[in-house]
């Protein structure tokens, strides 16, 4: 599938650079993320793809000594513009991490609703439907609907990761970032998460870091290849995998390094 002109661009980076102290981890990446599509970021370990994705919701700067330069446009508005509150940006751009990280002191219900509860929403008539909707979107509802009061950490690893996806979806973000969301999961849990992602991208724009090239080929619409902090190339997934423009991309996807 090609990125045609009629598709709206939800998120766009222009010359994005990311630093850890004096070390530059991302070198001037410009990438357009079309709305309601799944963009996969691939590349070997340490190539800067995780750092890049953490710049998209301004989480990178929470690491002591880290900063970013350049522009990230969310629906045309630069989230790095002076005076923009990162807290408000993160409400519109959800994130799921590599390791499942449910809040240990909270039940399944509280975990899913935490984004709302901690923002001051207390009314069960509001929370109940949101929790049900999010858990259904994350394909976890049937497994947990009778045990919503149990601690979230009691679930299996795969269930915990879907719980975290539900938690991110509960605040209804138009964009969802996923940093290797299946790398800590077994193949069956991975397949479940992939299925739900295919479903999810009908309503949410997804940017996903993955180490698994088959996964990128299976479920993404657009693929960007990162190497040593640079984005070597990006384009429709079919094109990148079958007819890469850059020889380094070809070498990587044919398994000659990385």
């Amino acid at each position: 599938m090609s990125v045609d002109v009629t598709t709206k661009i939800e998120l766009e980076t222009i010359g994005l650079q990311a630093y850890f102290g004096a070390v530059r981890a991302v070198h001037g990446v410009s990438l357009r993320v079309p709305r309601h599509q799944l963009t996969a970021l691939i590349g070997p370990s340490g190539c800067g793809k995780s750092t890049f994705i953490r710049c998209l919701n301004r989480l990178h700067e929470e690491t002591p000594g880290a900063r970013a330069e350049g522009q990230v446009l969310l629906e045309g508005e630069d989230i790095y513009r002076r005076g923009v509150d990162p807290v408000l940006i993160r409400r519109r751009i959800g994130m799921v991490f590599q390791r499942p990280n449910p809040f240990p002191a909270m039940s399944i219900f509280e975990n899913v609703a935490s984004g709302l509860i901690l923002a001051g929403v207390k009314d069960r008539r509001v929370l109940d439907p949101v929790v049900e909707r999010s858990l259904k979107q994350a394909a976890l509802w049937d497994e947990v609907k009778d045990q919503l009061k149990k601690p979230g950490t009691r679930l299996s690893g795969g269930q915990q990761q879907r719980l975290c996806i539900a938690r991110a979806l509960a605040v209804d973000p138009p964009v969802l970032l996923m940093d290797e969301p299946t790398s800590a999961l077994d193949p069956i849990s991975t397949a479940r998460v992939e299925e739900l992602l295919i479903d999810l991208k009908k309503s949410v724009t997804v940017v996903m870091v993955t180490h698994n090239m088959q996964q990128a080929a299976r479920i993404s619409d657009q693929t960007a290849f990162f190497l040593m902090g640079e984005m070597v190339e990006s384009g429709a997934t079919d094109a990148v995998f079958t007819n890469p423009k850059d020889s380094r991309t070809e070498q990587y996807i044919t398994g000659r390094f990385g």
Binding site: P64, F103, A119
Partner: protein, 296 residues
């Protein structure tokens, strides 16, 4: 390789001897506690009656009296010290853990430059001999006010409680993995909310235990009170008057020449030890159940 039977026996004998040494060491270590408890119960249990808990010290020559005033004084001083010291200690702990973290890259930032001396100062304060804390408060509060007071005693206890709460809560908050903070931030929660509702809440069973232990510790402190709240033979909970406390009253009763006062000193010691034991037990039980709930 063939092992000679003699060598094998020698090895097992050594193992048994080593184990015996370890078990014996453990036994010796807990023996004093049971010896103290047993002794206190034998000497003091008979004086534990209603009057003991409700009456103050009687004038010499009069029969009866008790430690009610001392129990009340200890409650007031520990309470006041906790009321001031716990929020302050928690604030320090939260700052050091959440804002004064070591920066991973490059030169230390301003926060680190501020946090390390604070951490070091708290360490020093925690290891200051408690009589020195008493002397300090004596010089700063008691001398200018020209009188011993409950408030100065509470302040001295607070100075002992504060570093305990600050350092332990910092350590416990640091144990909460970074990825939980990021999960909270990524949900669009402001930093303070993440710290209180995610980080502190996750660490709370441990922090609460640390608070209880610190309170148990100051409830038994004697030295800082000698020069501050001084002791008082009668009921008084005025903040600017000398106040009795369990440890000081035990001392007063113990050095007296009267048989009955000696018994009350024993009973007071028993009360104090039991209070500390109960506080520790509560810590254990509540902490333990939280631990179980979290991990199964």
């Amino acid at each position: 390789m063939k092992v000679s039977p003699w060598f094998d026996r020698w090895r097992k004998w050594k193992s048994r001897a080593a184990l015996l040494l370890l078990v014996g060491g453990c036994g010796l270590a807990v023996l004093p506690l049971f010896a103290i408890l047993l002794h206190l119960i034998r000497q003091g249990a008979s004086a534990l009656d209603w009057a003991f808990f409700t009456q103050a010290q009687k004038p010499v020559g009069e029969l009866g009296g008790g430690m009610g005033h001392a129990i009340l004084g200890t409650l007031a001083q520990v309470g006041l010290a906790s009321l001031l010291g716990i929020p302050l200690g928690l604030a320090c702990g939260i700052y050091l853990s959440e804002f004064g973290a070591r920066e991973r890259q490059g030169a230390p930032g301003t926060r680190e430059r501020f946090a390390s001396p604070v951490r070091f100062a708290l360490e020093l304060l925690a290891s200051t001999p408690s009589i020195l804390v008493g002397v300090f408060v004596y010089g700063v509060i008691v001398v200018p006010m020209k009188k011993f007071s409950l408030m100065s005693g509470a302040l001295a206890l607070m100075l002992i409680l504060l570093p305990l709460v600050a350092r332990t809560s910092e350590e416990l908050l640091r144990l909460i993995p970074q990825h939980l903070r990021e999960a909270g931030l990524a949900l669009g929660l402001p930093r303070w909310k993440v710290i209180l509702s995610v980080v502190l809440r996750s660490a709370w069973p441990g922090v609460w235990a640390a608070i209880l232990l610190a309170m148990a510790r100051i409830a038994g402190e004697t030295a800082p009170l000698v020069l501050t709240s001084f002791g008082n033979p009668s009921f008084s909970h005025a903040w600017d008057q000398p106040s009795a406390s369990l440890p000081l009253q035990i001392y007063t009763y113990a050095i007296s020449p009267f048989e009955e006062w000696h018994r009350m000193a024993w009973a007071g010691a028993l009360t104090l030890v039991l209070t500390v034991l109960v506080l520790n037990a509560i810590t254990r039980i509540s902490g333990g159940s939280h631990e179980r709930r979290r991990h199964d």
